[in-house]
Structure formats: C-alpha cells, structure tokens
Symmetry: C3
Subunit: 356 residues, 3 copies
C-alpha cells in the first residue's frame, strides 16, 4: 500500500515551481526508467534526456531548461505530466528524500533507553536519547540530546556523542573519543582502536621484534560527519586523529593514527589513509585509493579510484594512477614489457643519437 502525497504538500515543504499538472499525487520515488504515473523521478544531467523522453514518471524534478522535455512526452496520464522545477534538481531531490524519510518511510527506531542496555551511573544522557538493546555506555560517557545509539553499540569511558548523532549497531566509540552533532556512524565501525605504532628492537638472529608504542591520543570528529559500515578510525599516538566538519566516508575505510581530514572531504569505499597524512578540505578520494603516511594533500584535490598517492600533492586538481585493464593475454605482454621499460628508453635514446 503506497501513500499518495499531494504534490502541493511536497512543494509547500521544499519550494520549487510546478509546471503542468500540479494536482498530481506522488506514491513513490523512482528512477526515470522504473517510474510510472504515480512516481516522482528526477533528471540531474542533460545527458539523461533520452531516458527522460521514454520515462512514464508522473512528476519529474528538473531544471528550467528541461521543462519542455518533461511536459511534451507522448501518451500523458490522465491530467497530464508535471515538471517540478528547481535550479539544482539533484540537490532538491536529496532534500526530498530527507522529507520522505521523515514523513513517509521513517527508519524503525528504539524509543528511549532499552531495558537491556547497560548504562554506567556516571554517564550523562541527554534529553530524548534512544539506546538500543544490549548497548553499553561506560563511565563518564556523554550522550547529547536526541542522539540514538544502536543495538550492541559500545560508547566507552569519557567518550562523547553530539546531539542528534546516530551510532549504528555494534559501533565502538573508544574511550576519550568524541563525535560532534548530527553525525551518522554505520554499523560495525570502530573509532578509537590503537594506531599502528611500534619501535623495532634488534633480535639475536638479525631480525627485529616490535615494541608497542602506546597510543595516548584520541579521535575527534566534527559535526555532520557520516561514516560508513565497518570502517576503522584509529586514535592518535600523542595528538589526536581528526575528521573535520562535514566529512563523508563510505564503508571499509581505514584512517590511520594522527591523520587529519579537512572539512567536506569525501572518500569512497575501501580507501586507506596511512598515519599522519593530512588531507585538505573539499577533496574526494575514489574507491580503493591509498594515501601513504605523512603526506599532505592540498584542498580541492581529487584522487581517482584505486590510485596510490605516494608523494604530497600541493596543487588542486585531478590525479590518477591505475594500470589499465585489458584482456589477460594483452596485459601479460604489456606487463612483461613494462619490466624492461627503462631499458627500452635507453635503447630509444641510443637510436636517436645514432640517427641524428
């Protein structure tokens, strides 16, 4: 059973202009190619115009330039098509999903403190907090107003969770670590495990054992940060590991000790950032990218997926470094030749000298 939300209700909440049949109702949000007359879809880029022309979406969020394309589609449903017009329809669609989440498809949630949760008497719990089954809140932890703590989550001693922040199931927020307001941490993420620090100690057989350097710092995370599932954000060795406001991390990301990530930087899944790297604001790192330790990335640096940053990058821009995929036989030949590349260059040089 779908809801049927009058489009005018949505417009009252979110603005924009309605062209065409503004009396339509919206039963669901859908991509252009799966939408029907009861669906609302969006077109964010002109290159999807061909898909738009075939779409059966009753309502389409679109930029002014595409209103005609929305309304002139053949075979309109009873009452006709509607274009809901915004200067930036993708941003408007993001806001619509938030309204939809809140009013139509709310996340299921515990209300109040579940009786099975274990909360230390010295913890300070704000107003309107939800704490899931079997969650653990250790001594002197601070949970801000309206925060929600998932089942099996563990907020350790003296850790602090900002107002309205959500920790998913089984999240660990380590002792002394803190996350700001209106953040989201998805299930299984570990914030504040020890950084990877050891001093080598020579062994009689010529090898070296590793002596642990206790990690005495913590993790500080700003406001409006979202962190995916099963990530690791290590505590600092002496100072802290820092994620600034608005940082967004996808799943399975490793952030080493004493890393600093600038505001509104985003990283896709499986990225690894080694210790003490400093990443600027407004950067993006593609999935599986690796940043080596102690490097610096300027603001507005964009790293392609699976690229390895081996030196500091001081200039904004787009950087890549990935071996191109090929059929295996071709790759084998090229990869074998690559191992002689420097020698080939020398041969080419010699040839150039000889033929000049």
């Amino acid at each position: 059973m779908s809801p049927a939300i009058p489009l005018t209700t949505l417009q009252s909440a979110l603005g924009g202009a309605l062209c065409g049949n503004g009396e339509r109702s919206v039963e669901r949000l859908a991509p252009l190619d799966e939408a029907d007359a009861g669906s609302l879809a969006f077109i964010a880029q002109p290159r999807y115009e061909a898909m738009l022309r075939r779409s059966r979406a009753g309502v389409v969020m679109a930029a002014p330039a595409l209103v005609g394309a929305v309304l002139q589609r053949p075979d309109p449903p009873p009452g006709g098509w509607c274009a809901w017009v915004f200067p930036d329809p993708y941003l408007a669609f993001a806001r619509l999903t938030q309204w939809w989440r809140q009013h139509v498809a709310p996340r299921p949630s515990v209300v109040g403190i579940h009786p099975s949760a274990w909360v230390h008497p010295t913890a300070r719990i704000g107003a309107g907090v939800s704490i899931g089954p079997f969650a653990v809140i250790d001594e002197e932890a601070v949970i801000g107003d309206g925060a929600t703590i998932g089942a099996h989550a563990h907020v350790q001693a003296r850790a602090a969770v900002g107002a309205g922040t959500h920790l998913g199931s089984s999240v660990v927020l380590g002792y002394d670590c803190r996350i700001g307001a209106h953040g989201i941490v998805h299930a299984g993420t570990v914030i504040g495990a020890d950084g990877f620090g050891f001093a080598p100690e020579p062994q009689p057989d010529g090898g070296r054992a590793w002596v642990k350097i206790e990690q005495l710092g913590a993790v500080r995370i700003g406001d409006a940060v979202e962190i995916g599932a099963n990530c690791c954000i290590d505590r600092g060795a002496l100072g802290d590991t820092v994620l600034e406001d608005g940082v967004k991390l996808d799943n399975l990301i490793q952030i080493g000790h004493n890393v600093r990530v600038g505001r509104h930087t985003a990283m896709a899944g499986c990225v690894g950032v080694a210790g003490s790297a400093r990443i600027g604001a407004y950067c993006t790192l593609g999935g599986g990218a690796i940043v080596l330790g102690h490097l610096e990335l300027a603001d507005h640096v964009h790293i392609s997926a699976a690229s390895v940053v081996m030196r500091s990058i001081r200039q904004p821009g787009h950087y890549s470094g990935v071996f191109p995929i090929d059929d295996n036989r071709a790759w084998e030949k090229n990869a074998a030749t690559l191992r002689q590349l420097h020698a080939l260059r020398e041969r080419l040089k010699a040839l150039e000298r000889r033929t000049t």
Copy 2:
C-alpha cells in the same frame, strides 16, 4: 582421539568406486603432503601427481586416470592403499567435507532461543530456529524454519531470513532487507547500511558540502548465498541492491548501493564494487579487484586479483590490469619512465618517420 570411519560407510553415503583395499578406515581428512595411513586425501589435478607419489595417505580420492598412481605407491601400509574413484574428485571431496562436518565434526551451536536473546513480540520465528546469546530480533522480522542466528546478531525490523540460513556473530541484517534459504553470513558483516549518496551544495568559500540522499531501498539476497566476515552490502537508494542465487563472497567485500550481482558469481577477499554496477552470472573477481560504478560486466567475465575495472566489459573472458612487482630499484626506474611513456611513443614515431 580420532574417529575411525569405515570407508564403506563413506562410500554408501557419497558413491564412487573403491579400488584397492576398500576395508580401510578414515581417521582424518588431510592434504596429500601431511597425510598418513589413517588419512583420506584427494588429488584434483594431474599436476600434483609427484606429490601423490610421495604421499602416505591410506585413501586417496582420485579420477580414474590416477588410480594406478594411487595404488602403485611404494611401502604400502598393512592391507594396502585404496583409491576412491570419482569423475570429479574435487567435487566429491567437497561433498565429503559436508558429510564430515555433519557426522564427525559438527559446528558447536545453540539449540533453541537463548534466554538472553531479545525477540520482539511481533517477530515471526519459524520451527527449529536457534538464536544465540544477546541476539536482537526486531519487530515484524521473519526468521525461517531451521535458521540459526549467532550471538550479538541484529535482525532489524521487517527483515527476513530464509529457512536454514545461518547468520554469524554480530551480523547486522538491516530493516526491510532479506536473505533467502540455505545461506551463510559470517561474523561482522553488515547488510543494509545506507548507500553512499550525497548531492553537492555550493559553499560561500567555493567548496561544496554534501547533502544526504536518504537511501530508501533495501537489499535482496537469493538462496544459497555465502558472504564472508566483515563485508558490507549497502541498501539501495531507490530500488534494491541484489545478490542473486548462489553468489559467494569472501571477507571484507564492499558492495555499493543498487549493485546487482548475477547468480553463482564469486568474489575473493577485499573486492570493492561501486554503486549501480551490474555484474553478470558466473563471473569471478580476484582478491582486491575494484569495479567502478554504473559499469556492466557480461556473464562469464573473470577479473584478475587487484585489477581495476574502469569500463564495461561486454565479452566473456579473462581480464587483468596490475603493475608487475619487481625489486624496488628496478621498479623505481620503470615507474619513472612510465610517466614519460606517451612522450617516448612520440619520439619513436618521429624516429620511424625519419628512418623510412
């Protein structure tokens, strides 16, 4: 204390033909090079024949062509060697391990619902279900007959677990997500965290903040799917993320929102598949491979370990793209030259023109 299972018992259960001493008993399963007279081993490929000839395994599962090699080994134990013959001995060995698991080395398991588990009164629990300590089953969740739910697992609201499916310790099955029958999900895996979706919003300083796109879809997983430990399978943005029947995923794998993985496709550890990629049936992805978003892979595509798929692949086949490893000094030279490769090609072209 090992069991001693008469080989005839095994043959009754699993078929195949016994050549040589069919009266042997089997105390343990072992690799060829660690086996003794009480062991059963297998040889799956003729290239291990040298290892077979040195093996002390009392019983060897083998294809017909290798029966002679099994039986003619020197220094037979009392009663002599035995070959247990199958057209596909590796497949037969897989079935034997299943019989062994069931009859000789059963997994330890909770029986029934552990008193510490927390089950919402509206959840529907099938017959013969086991639920471990501190597991949480939220409202309207459905647990199929004979399913087992590990300690600290969290089956969220309206999620569904098929008959006979096993969720390991601390697994999270998100709200509205479902997994079919006879599946296995190993510990720590998170199914149904939010996909990574944000719309950029310009900031006064020239940068962009990220506005969350609520992820309104779910995850649908077919029958006989196995998922390793600490994986992440994100919920879809509008539609669902889908793993078809028989898919096998190793550990620490990231599957982005709205990805579709075709039936019987297998992925080794640390693979990352970005959002909206569509991967065909019967594919294999080697460990650490990355597939970028919105790409399509045909059926029967095989990607080598650590290769990065940057374009759709429409033809079945084997594809690779990895920088060959070398001693560091050689690599440094070749890598430095690689950064001038296009210029070298231009120089070669010029030289060719000059010398023609």
Copy 3:
C-alpha cells in the same frame, strides 16, 4: 590537569642518562613541534634536527650525537633544557609510552566478570580475568590468567585465550581457535570464520555453481601478536591458519585459510593475503598490498604499499609494483600508450634492426 612526573622517576624506571637539567618534571608526552617546557619529546632520526632546534620541549629523548643540539637551543626555560640520552631513543620512547599508559593514563577497564556477561559453566576462567558487558564465553572455552575480554566479544566453544591477552569489543574468536599470551586483538576482528573454499559443479546452462568445502581446520596465533580492528583471519580448510609469535597486523586485513605468517612480520592496513600463502619471518607488507594464494615469501622480504605479489619471492629485499600517480591528463595518455607497450617494443626492435 596534567600530572607532573619528576624526570628522575622516569629514569629510575627506564634507564638512560640525563644531561642538562635533570630536575625537570614531565607533564605530557608530545611531538617535537607541539611540545612546551612541560613536555617530553623524542628525536629518533637526525633528519629531524631542524625541527629539534625549533622545539620548546623541556626534555628530549635523544641519541648521544644529538645531546648538543638538545641543550644548545636558544631561550631555555627556567632551569634549562634536558636531554635524556639513549643509544636507541625511539625504542626508549616506546617503553616510556608503556610506562605512561600504566602509571599516568591507564586504559579504562572492567574489573572482574561483568554481571551481564554470559559464561558457559564448562568454560575455564583463569585468575584475574576481566570480562565485559554482554560478552559470551561458550562451552569449554579457556581464558588464561589476567586476560581481558571486551564488551560484546564472543569466545566460541573450545577456543583459548592466553594469559594477559586482550580481546576488544565485539571480537569473535571462533570455535577451536586459539591465541597465545600477551596479545591484543582490537574491536570487530573476526578470527576463525570459514575460509573461502568451494568446488565448481557444472550447471545445465554451461555455468558452474559452487559446492561448499567445509572448513575443518582452525586458527593458531602465537604470543605477543597484535591484530587491528575489523580484520579477518580465516580458519583452515584441513590444517590450520597460523600467525607466529610477535606478528603485528594493522586494521582491515584479510588473512585467507591456511596462510602461515612468520614471526615478527608486520602488515599495514588493508593488506590481503590469499589462501595457503606462506610469508616468512621479519617481513613487512605496506598498506593495501595483496599477496596471491599459494605463494611463498622468504624471510626479510619487504613489500611496498599497494603492491601485488603475483609470484613467490625467494630473496630478501624490497619489492614494489605500483602505477605512479600523475595528473589525470598525463595519466590518461600514458595509460593509453601502456596498452600498446609490447607493440612499441616490437617497433623499436624493428627500427634497431633497420638502423644497424
């Protein structure tokens, strides 16, 4: 409020020689560039001498050659600078952090068995053990003296934890698996999930389904092993997966079934080691490196970050294989040319023949 530890107290515990003002007190440990007169810092490598000269650290751990540089800094604080001299100041600093952790900044910890933990009556619990809230200790598990088990951890049937070993929150130690003494396993790590083993079974449509090979081995981990957060160490197929004494693993690392890792080998974050690989002693693997299955690495092999080991390495040394990062436009040209590299070599050869 900082503590103020007399330097003489530290010297009594840790040795070394004091030059300059040995009457100083230490309020905090800090890096050279963030230190003030109340801070203790260290200099491990002569290349940081310029940073040392600007540092305001009241006490600096240093090698004998740098004592002058420590003491002759301008503008000394009241009483003057102090150099705390060791032949290996980095190692001494590591030991100091351990002293500091123990005496000044102890980790918060549960004392005794938390009333909410669930311990099977047949488990054997040593003296001085701590078990956190909602931890599960299954039948016949063995917890050594002084071990600590975090909240939501799950020690499965017949698993064994050595004396003094710490398992973090939500760690899973699988049935029959064991870890030695004085180890640390950080939160979310799964030890003993099934290895990834399947036999292909032909399907009518020309594809292959996968038949599970039950993983009948376990995991054996030596003494003084540290494993980061959200790692996966799979159980063996027949024999065991083994980590020898002193191995150190960072976060999000995948160790496949039947892998053997030699003593004191260290791996940085996001490394993947495929099944049955054998890695020697005293090796290091950089972050994101991949080792394919069934390979062997000799002792003292060092693999650069993000490199892929595709063949066995029999000689100690330093090995690399990573595509160098470049600005995207340059990379695109070079990567495109790389796909013709073998052909370029043939053209170069032809040219050489022609011009000789």
